[in-house]
């Protein structure tokens, strides 16, 4: 077995891995390695051919491949080593990595620091327990996106899309542009889960109906999907009898959520957050296993790739410092808690010796609210939605005022006389 040693090993060559590797190298780590299972870098961005990426980062509306290419070009200018078509099989808690590819066979890599950047994968039909037969023609939206945009196959001619998250909406437009008939996008919530911009440009532009508070209750067809039955749901998401409607289609796309891909993390003994399904991290984005860091969609599912890059740069820089043994242990640590109408907050634990950027999501939409970070900073928000991540930074000075051992983040109503913003 071939053995090599590196300062920082980054698992995954998508947007998180690329940004983390660059940041680790810039921090002074001299041997940085990216391990990627695909035949090229860029991750899921390569199949997201639509535009709208990079508004924050590059002040331009880039397509996914363009956003990826910019980072790939930066990596190519460095001496960062890239192993493609290489599958990581195991990460040990002493940061030994076992991987395999068809050129080298088994590889053993000793790393002073590891960055987990494996991304996420899609929820499937099985997770939804949709009853009925199991004909061909049922795809997760991302799989269909790959067939269409990378391989050049259209998944069907007449489609229904379950789930109005951005991937579902983007695929509705993509299918319509390529000449397929999109019968409807069906959403269980009372509002569209994706961005308003995508509702306008992907559905309204193509006269595709958005059917709210409904779900698929029956699959029809033997060899190939022939139709789906949808029904209205009550407030507990239970289908209401008598509201069924049968829609003929040969394709059903499922855009019903993403799950961070943490098999490697779990085996390495990394503690996971049951809400995000990602690792619990501190303010250096280090997991419960010393020297193992996490960023991007493996940590929590992001809304914008710009936020992934930013978070990954932080993880990469701290991983670099850890590898160079420049990271001092914090004197005091404080737990971060999700309070009223906050679903989760990352990081889970902070020290108070450096600025911290918090990422969080709300549980339900609300208007005219104040985001309150433990009384240290309050920010007025005209509207908050679960689909849009919130990010706020607390400076060292703000953090120095924290008393107790917990920082609670919550959403509170705006007072008439106005709360300081």
């Amino acid at each position: 077995m071939k053995r090599s040693d590196v300062d920082v090993a980054v698992i995954g060559g998508g947007p998180a891995g690329l940004a983390a590797a660059l940041a680790a190298r810039n921090e002074g780590a001299s041997k940085v390695l990216i391990i990627e299972r695909n035949h090229e870098l860029g991750g899921i961005l390569q199949q997201c051919i639509h535009h709208g990426f990079g508004l924050h980062r590059f002040k331009a509306e880039l397509t996914g491949p363009e956003y990826a290419q910019r980072f790939i070009n930066l990596v190519k200018e460095t001496d960062i080593e890239v192993l493609l078509e290489t599958m990581v099989l195991e990460v040990r808690d002493d940061r030994t990595i076992y991987a395999v590819n068809s050129t080298d066979g088994m590889l053993e890599i000793g790393a002073k620091a590891v960055v987990l950047a494996m991304g996420c994968r899609e929820r499937t039909r099985g997770a939804l327990r949709i009853p009925g037969k199991r004909p061909a023609g049922i795809f997760s939206a991302g799989t269909a996106q790959r067939y269409l945009n990378i391989d050049g196959y259209i998944p069907g001619k007449k489609a229904v899309i379950l789930g109005s998250g951005d991937i579902g909406l983007i695929m509705a437009r993509r299918l319509a542009l390529e000449g397929a008939q999109v019968e409807a996008v069906v959403e269980i919530l009372p509002y569209a889960a994706g961005l308003a911009r995508n509702v306008v440009q992907c559905l309204e532009d193509f006269d595709i109906p958005l059917i709210l508070q409904s779900t698929v209750v029956q699959i029809h067809g033997d060899d190939r999907l022939e139709a789906v039955t949808i029904a209205k749901v009550d407030e507990n998401w239970k289908p209401i009898p008598g509201t069924e409607q049968k829609i003929e289609c040969d394709t059903l796309l499922l855009s019903v959520g993403l799950i961070p891909e943490n098999e490697l993390s779990r085996e390495a003994g990394v503690a996971l957050d049951p809400i995000t399904n990602g690792p619990k991290v501190d303010d250096t984005l280090m997991t419960s296993v010393p020297g193992v860091f996490a960023c991007g969609n493996v940590l929590h599912v992001h809304d914008l790739v710009d936020n992934v890059s930013k978070e990954a740069e932080r993880a990469g820089a701290f991983a670099g410092r850890y590898a160079l043994q420049q990271q001092a242990d914090a004197a005091r640590r404080v737990k971060v808690e999700a309070g009223e109408n906050i679903r989760y907050v990352v990081p889970h634990e902070i020290s108070l010796d450096k600025p911290v950027e918090f990422f969080m999501r709300v549980q339900r939409p609300e208007q005219n609210v104040v985001l309150d970070l433990g009384g240290l900073r309050t920010v007025k928000k005209p509207s908050v939605r679960p689909s849009e991540m919130l990010n706020i930074t607390l400076t060292e000075e703000m953090l120095s005022k924290l008393e107790g051992d917990t920082l609670t983040v919550r959403i509170v109503p705006q007072k008439e006389d106005g709360v300081d913003a």
């Binding site: 860029g42 363009e66 290419q69 269409l148 945009n149 390529e178 308003a196």
Partner: protein
């Protein structure tokens, strides 16, 4: 005539209501919470534009398709025609991001450009 639009400039997603006159002119515009909303709704009513992103076939490339985009938005009613115009297009590899695939696409004054690098198949 009354027409309502969802503003897509920011996540607030204001519902903008336009009162349209007989000659398709805007008589009034309400519901937007900022000036950018007015600009958006006016443009969306008079001359809506969209950026085209799609794929074209490749010859000799490491992948069967190359993602492409219009480097500027094009008039919304031209989207279908634009898709037809790219349907049979074949691009020779190698390609660099930003390379022009079609210059002055459909005489619209915009270029169709490559979204990524594409190497030759080896």
């Amino acid at each position: 005539m009354r027409k309502s639009l969802t503003c897509t400039v920011c996540p607030l997603s204001c519902d903008v209501v336009l009162e349209i006159g007989e000659n398709n002119e805007i008589l009034s515009l309400t519901g937007n919470k900022c000036a950018r909303g007015k600009v958006y709704a006016t443009k969306e009513h008079t001359a809506p534009e969209r950026t085209l992103t799609t794929t074209v076939k490749t010859k000799g490339g490491s992948l069967p398709l190359l993602p492409v985009r219009s480097d500027q938005p094009i008039p919304k009613p031209m989207l279908k025609k634009a898709m037809e115009a790219t349907a049979d297009l074949v691009v020779d590899a190698p390609v660099k991001m930003g390379d022009i695939v079609i210059e002055n696409f459909l005489d619209l004054g915009v270029n169709l450009v490559a979204s990524r690098d594409l190497d030759r198949a080896h």
